[in-house]
């Protein structure tokens, strides 16, 4: 299983529609400070079902919608869509390709889709149970999070290992 394509519109600094095709191997993202690299990581976390806005550096849910710049007005919706190669059926679905989509409106409404069918947030989260991508995970290390592995209490390390086992 690997990520194939990421589509972003209205999410944080991605006011314009953006499409990123990912290699099954090593992908590198570069760029100056503040241009949106970590926002790509936030977008992936968000579309994979992250429920907690604080994990995306936000305080209120609407923080993830593009809120304007000197030259552009705020938008009303954030949308992220991710296409996953599922040919080894790690995800418990009969498809070789699985597309997850998530939308959030300024009104506070949320929408979630698996292969274009409307679902709930928990359906997306349950898709990944047992794939090694849970909350204590070691597969997403955000900016400045590297040392949490060593810094925490010995019991937190245990929790992380239990998640992996």
């Amino acid at each position: 299983m690997h990520l194939k394509r990421l589509e972003i519109k209205g999410f944080k600094s991605f006011a314009d529609y953006t499409e990123i095709h990912l290699d099954p191997g090593m992908n590198i993202i570069v760029g100056p400070n503040g241009c949106g690299k970590s926002n790509v990581v936030d977008a992936i976390r968000w579309v994979l079902g992250e429920p907690n806005i604080r994990q995306l550096r936000g305080q209120r849910n609407e923080d993830i919608i593009f809120n304007g710049s000197d030259e552009k007005r705020p938008l009303g919706m954030a949308m992220v869509e991710i296409t996953i190669d599922n040919s080894n059926h790690v995800l418990p679905l009969d498809y070789n390709e699985v597309t997850l989509a998530r939308k959030y409106y300024r009104s506070g409404e949320s929408e979630f889709f698996i292969n274009r069918s409307p679902v709930r947030l928990k359906d997306i989260n349950q898709l990944f149970t047992g794939t090694g991508m849970g909350k204590q995970g070691y597969s997403i290390i955000g900016q400045g999070e590297l040392e949490t592995v060593l810094k925490g209490q010995p019991f937190d390390r245990r929790l992380m290992l239990e998640e992996a086992s």
Binding site: H21, G31, L150
Partner: protein, 158 residues
């Protein structure tokens, strides 16, 4: 008689010892269960010894040594229990040139069997990449992404 977790911990310890030695080119590392009456609530201790130095408690290590030890720990888990993909945001920031080259070499090998998406400013890591994306803001406040080749990176990497 050991619990399920103790059995997994011994596998994780083995993987961590091997990964640590490979990444640091020597030294020793170990994971162990704290000595506590209840093996179900005992935490996990980490001991590391840098090549040529004495075993130190983690807090006495340098910034770069701690960073590379954490990287060894994460890679040890990934080898033991591969994840479908791995997202890393500037985890190479604290590494000096020697450690950076070791890290880049190591992650390039791991990328044979696991998909990586790595945000970095460091040249050696960039050169380990198969595909490179540059993120910029030609218009203030609005991100724009373009596919890059290695020579083109020079002008865009921050």
């Amino acid at each position: 008689m050991s619990t399920d977790f103790q059995q997994f911990l011994s596998l994780a310890d083995e993987s961590f010892q091997q990964t640590f030695r490979e990444i640091f080119g020597g030294g020793e590392a170990q994971l162990s269960l704290q000595q506590e009456e209840d093996p179900f609530t005992a935490g996990v201790e980490i001991m590391v010894k840098m090549p040529g130095k004495k075993a130190q408690s983690l807090n006495l290590l340098s910034g770069g040594e701690r960073a590379l030890t954490c990287i060894a720990f994460i890679f040890a888990l990934l080898r033991l229990r591969p994840a479908p993909f791995c997202l890393l945001d500037e985890i190479d920031a604290a590494l000096d040139q020697t450690n950076l080259v070791r890290f880049a070499h190591f992650i390039k090998n791991m990328a044979e069997s696991t998909q990586f998406i790595v945000i970095t400013h460091r040249q050696a890591t960039i050169e380990a990449g198969k595909k490179i994306y540059g993120v910029t803001m030609p218009q203030n406040g609005v991100s724009s992404v373009l596919s890059l080749t290695l020579p083109e990176v020079e002008s865009i990497a921050g």
